[in-house]
């Protein structure tokens, strides 16, 4: 028979009380943290204690009993697989949210539904302009109708300009927002590394640092919104056979070529990559090295070079990112990650915002540009809408200016004098007006570059003897009459039209001189109502192809790209709604595993309280039993 320890049972009772008290502590901790964000409920790990080993001289009649309960530690209840799923979904939600934010801002400018008593703003103003022209067509000899038309055009132009300005403001705000997001992501990376460091130290000293892990998980959840991340837990050997956990965060979805952002206590930072500057004058056929159009890259002194390493460095205009070397909080660099690495965008709000900043759809430059990734026309961001407004303003100016030719012509298109006789231009053109020489077609005259001194002679000749009927109505600045390079931001009433030296030509043919014919006004109206072809190369030959992407009248064109925006908003909104709902469900599922439930904790409280009471009762029982032995045994006959 084995020996019975006299006072051993006290230890058992004491350990029981100790475990119950610890259990109550853990329950109290859970209850008080029910509203702490990211908190995972903790539980007390216990195991029965069995101290005696096997005895050589033991007997089959022996009954061995354990010695109580041991608290082996506190553990967290968390499902890591749900965490992975949640973070994957958050990357998608982040991207859609980033896009929708900018799309909503664009909508506030471009959406005309319900504005202006339902008639729209730019839509209505284009109609108003045509209306004023229509009134002028039945009153061609009245000056006030010319003024009304000009005022209406001026209002329309001011709408274009204000839209362009607002779009530019959105772009600037979005850029700032992007940089702020990057800064925030960088801060989070640093904080995660700091937590890694702290958790590692705690683990080395034997503390599992559960609360810090929770805080770290909250930060990783936040980071997953900015980009798609892959979180793995590695092992770090600190010597003497002891390993501690090491957290590794990579950007991507688990491929072997993903870039590491955080490894243990070392974190990298996101920064916009520096790229060699492109030469805007680059001509692939140029072979003269001294010419400014030689070489794809631009040097610091403005020349061209074929070697990108000699070119001036600028921050990437398409917001390409680099990851800087991984450093810890003391500034030490990780030996395996000591260089800059190029990052590829993968989901997340950074990508969403970046798509909106550079997405140009049909207007994506096909040459002399940094767009190196897949620029399918489905990516439409702020530049797309800016360029669409530019295309509309440009086409409007082009059509109106072309329909208001400067000089009187005959039926064959030759420029004439006020009497309808063809104007001749010859080598000796001093006679007034000369009758010797070659007549000039209006189209050819309008193609001549006014800045080229070789054309000065013929242009002055026609200015002196030609009959001016119309002129440039829309220019790129209100200080002049230059009609090249018109965009929505610079479109203006020309100086001539403002000063009334240029008017709307009511007729342009010599046969109508002196009459109140409205033939040209009707022509302008038909042109304004008619369909025109839009190709991206209209604005700039570097911008995409010369394929016509729309053939529409002005109002249809405007409604067209507003409609594209609306479809985008609608689709993105629906997708975001669905994704957000599923992410929320995942979060609730996570909470089902790691969240605190008051019923659970109340039951635990009762259980631990009862077990404490039972252990205390055991102690009392043993005390009484021993008291009997010590004070009540062997006193017979005293």
């Amino acid at each position: 028979m084995s020996s019975v320890s006299t006072f051993g049972a006290f230890t058992t009772a004491r350990l029981g009380m100790y475990a119950a008290m610890k259990g109550l502590d853990v329950t109290g901790h859970n209850i008080s943290n029910i509203n702490t964000r990211g908190y995972s409920r903790q539980k007390l790990d216990q195991r029965a204690m069995y101290l005696t080993g096997s005895d050589r001289y033991s007997s089959p009649n022996d009954a061995r009993v354990g010695s109580g309960v041991l608290c082996t530690g506190i553990s967290q209840l968390r499902d890591p697989y749900l965490d992975i799923r949640y973070r994957n979904d958050m990357a998608g939600v982040g991207e859609l949210d980033g896009r929708l934010g900018v799309l909503d801002e664009l909508t506030s400018i471009l959406d005309e539904v319900g504005k202006g008593k339902g008639d729209g703003v730019i839509e209505k103003q284009i109609t108003d302009f045509i209306e004023k022209l229509s009134s002028l067509s039945t009153n061609t000899n009245m000056e006030e109708y010319q003024t009304l038309v000009r005022t209406s055009a001026s209002t329309l132009i001011s709408f274009f300009k204000s839209n362009a300005k607002a779009l530019e403001k959105i772009k600037t705000n979005t850029e700032n927002g992007f940089k702020q997001e990057m800064t925030k992501a960088n801060e989070i990376l640093k904080q995660i590394a700091a937590y890694n460091d702290s958790i590692r130290k705690s683990e080395i000293h034997g503390d599992s640092a559960l609360e810090q892990r929770d805080q770290r998980n909250v930060l990783i959840d936040q980071l997953s919104q900015y980009m798609k991340i892959d979180v793995t837990y590695g092992k770090e050997d600190i010597g003497a056979g002891v390993t501690v956990e090491k957290l590794i965060i990579k950007m991507g979805d688990g491929d072997t070529d993903d870039i590491t952002l955080v490894e243990g206590a070392y974190a990298g930072q996101l920064e916009i990559r520096n790229v060699p500057e492109l030469n805007p004058n680059y001509d692939a056929t140029q072979s003269d090295p001294d010419s400014p159009s030689f070489g794809e890259w631009l040097t610091a002194d403005g020349g061209g070079t074929i070697d990108p390493s000699f070119a001036r460095s600028i921050p990437s205009p398409i917001y390409d990112l680099n990851r800087s070397p991984l450093v810890d909080r003391h500034g030490n660099t990780h030996p395996n990650h000591s260089t800059d690495r190029e990052l590829e965008y993968e989901e997340g709000s950074l990508q969403g915002t970046r798509d909106m900043l550079i997405g140009a759809g049909e207007f994506t430059p096909t040459k002399n540009s940094y767009q190196s990734y897949d620029t399918s026309v489905s990516k439409r961001g702020i530049p797309y809408y800016q360029k669409s407004m530019d295309a509309l303003a440009n086409k409007f100016a082009e059509v109106l200016n072309k329909a208001n030719p400067t000089w009187l012509t005959d039926a064959d298109g030759y420029v004439t004098d006020a009497d309808g006789k063809k104007l001749m231009f010859g080598a000796d053109s001093t006679a007034a007006p000369p009758t010797v020489g070659v007549p000039l077609e209006l189209d050819d005259l309008m193609q001549l570059d006014p800045d080229d001194p070789a054309n000065a002679g013929v242009l002055n000749h026609f200015k002196a003897y030609g009959a001016k009927v119309g002129g440039t109505l829309i220019s790129n600045s209100d200080a002049g009459d230059d009609f090249t390079g018109i965009t929505a931001a610079n479109i203006s009433i020309s100086k001539g039209w403002t000063n009334n030296t240029t008017k709307l030509a009511t007729y342009t043919k010599a046969e109508d001189v002196g009459s109140t014919s409205n033939s040209n006004i009707n022509h302008i109206i038909i042109q304004l109502r008619g369909k025109h072809d839009y190709a991206p190369s209209d604005l700039d030959s570097d911008l995409g192809s010369s394929n016509v992407y729309t053939s529409a009248n002005f109002q249809e064109m405007y409604t067209n790209f507003c409609g594209i925006l609306a479809m985008d908003v609608s689709t993105t909104g629906t997708l975001l709604q669905n994704r957000a709902t599923s992410t929320e469900e995942l979060d609730i599922s996570r909470g089902a595993v790691s969240g605190v439930d008051l019923n659970d904790e109340a039951a635990n409280m009762m259980m631990y309280q009862k077990s404490y009471a039972a252990a205390a009762r055991l102690m009392t029982t043993i005390d009484e039993a021993l008291d009997k032995l010590i004070n009540g045994t062997g006193v017979v006959g005293r």
Binding site: T107, V113, G120, T140, G514, S515, A566, A592, N599
Partner: protein
């Protein structure tokens, strides 16, 4: 078995409540604005359709205004021609014949003055303005169409050209063919050379020469109605001037040799000119009728398009209020449920 935690229930409740609230706001918005959609994104197809309909409505409205202006001009012209025709009918059918057969020089002379006066008044009528332009000067509305030459006898000029001179016939013909097109909803289009296709717009130019005629016939007699009346008037006026014995070979109280034959010939020309006037008048009548019919068509079209716009954009108020009431009820129910969400737990029952 799924573990339901307090926070999990609360989170789910909060997002469901928000959804219910959003729905309530959306239906409230519909009641307030009475629109089916308040942004392009809510219903892109309907919004596009609505804008297209509105463009059509504005275009029709513009055409109505133009049509109105042209119709009023034509009605003014119609009135002038009508009264001219009525006055002339009396003169042409009765008075002239009487004058020709009248043996008294004084009577013919008085008639001559009447005729000269009538010529002047026709010229005045046809120089009427509508708005800022002259009605009967084609596309040349700034210039006075008809005037008298300075010499004696006074000849009728149209834009400075003598209407009777055969040399001016080509130029005068060109003037009658001038057009001033107006868009009254016939689908105004241009051809490849940039000229308006006549069938797609309404030519509102009216030339006085179309009504009065121009040029001279093979006998040298004027075709122009006013010229005919003026010459006849001059001839008849000359009858009174004769205070001396009549010239050799002149019969009765006629002023000059050949006056009587010329007067008879002119009387026949007068009938021809009246016929020209009547033809031109009835053509204008037809065109004015067309303008009125077209105006009615435009009005109907405008009305139809407006109804379509309302159909696409406007919400039926009964439907809107119904939806709003239901959303309100659902929201209130969700709020009530909230009270039971924060239910008691086991802790409340522990002693």
């Amino acid at each position: 078995m799924i573990r339901v935690t307090t926070n999990g229930v609360l989170t789910g409740y909060k997002s469901s409540l928000m959804r219910s609230r959003n729905q309530l706001e959306s239906t409230r918005n519909q009641v307030l604005t009475q629109r089916n959609f308040n942004s392009f994104a809510e219903n892109p197809a309907a919004a596009t359709h609505a804008f297209q309909l509105r463009r059509s409505a504005w275009a029709t409205d513009m055409q109505l205004t133009t049509s109105d202006s042209v119709t009023k001009k034509f009605e003014a012209a119609f009135g002038i021609i009508m009264s001219t025709h009525d006055d002339l009918a009396v003169v042409a059918d009765g008075t002239v014949l009487t004058g020709l057969s009248d043996t008294s020089g004084a009577g013919r002379s008085a008639l001559g003055k009447t005729l000269n006066g009538m010529a002047d008044s026709i010229v005045h009528s046809l120089n009427t303005k509508y708005g800022a332009g002259f009605i009967f000067n084609g596309a040349n509305g700034d210039e006075v169409p008809f005037s008298w030459s300075k010499g004696d006898p006074k000849e009728l000029l149209f834009n400075g050209l003598n209407v009777n001179d055969p040399a001016n016939e080509a130029a005068l013909k060109a003037m009658t063919e001038q057009s001033t097109f107006a868009d009254i909803g016939l689908g105004m289009q241009e051809d490849a050379q940039g000229n308006i296709i006549p069938a797609t717009a309404f030519d509102s130019a009216l030339s006085g020469l179309d009504f009065l005629g121009y040029g001279s016939d093979e006998k040298g007699l004027p075709n122009n109605l006013v010229s005919v009346i003026k010459e006849l008037g001059d001839i008849l006026s000359r009858c009174k001037e004769d205070s001396n014995p009549p010239a050799e070979g002149v019969d009765g109280n006629w002023g000059r040799e050949g006056d009587q034959e010329k007067a008879s010939a002119l009387a026949l020309k007068l009938k021809e000119a009246m016929s020209t006037l009547r033809t031109a008048h009835s053509e204008m009548d037809t065109r004015t009728t067309f303008l009125n019919t077209n105006h009615t068509r435009l009005k109907d079209s405008f009305s139809t398009v407006n109804e379509q716009i309302l159909g696409v954009e406007q919400m039926d108020l009964a439907d809107a209020i119904n939806n709003f009431s239901w959303a309100q009820y659902c929201y209130n129910a969700a709020l009530k449920v909230g009270n039971t969400i924060l239910s008691e737990s086991l802790i409340d029952y522990m002693r």
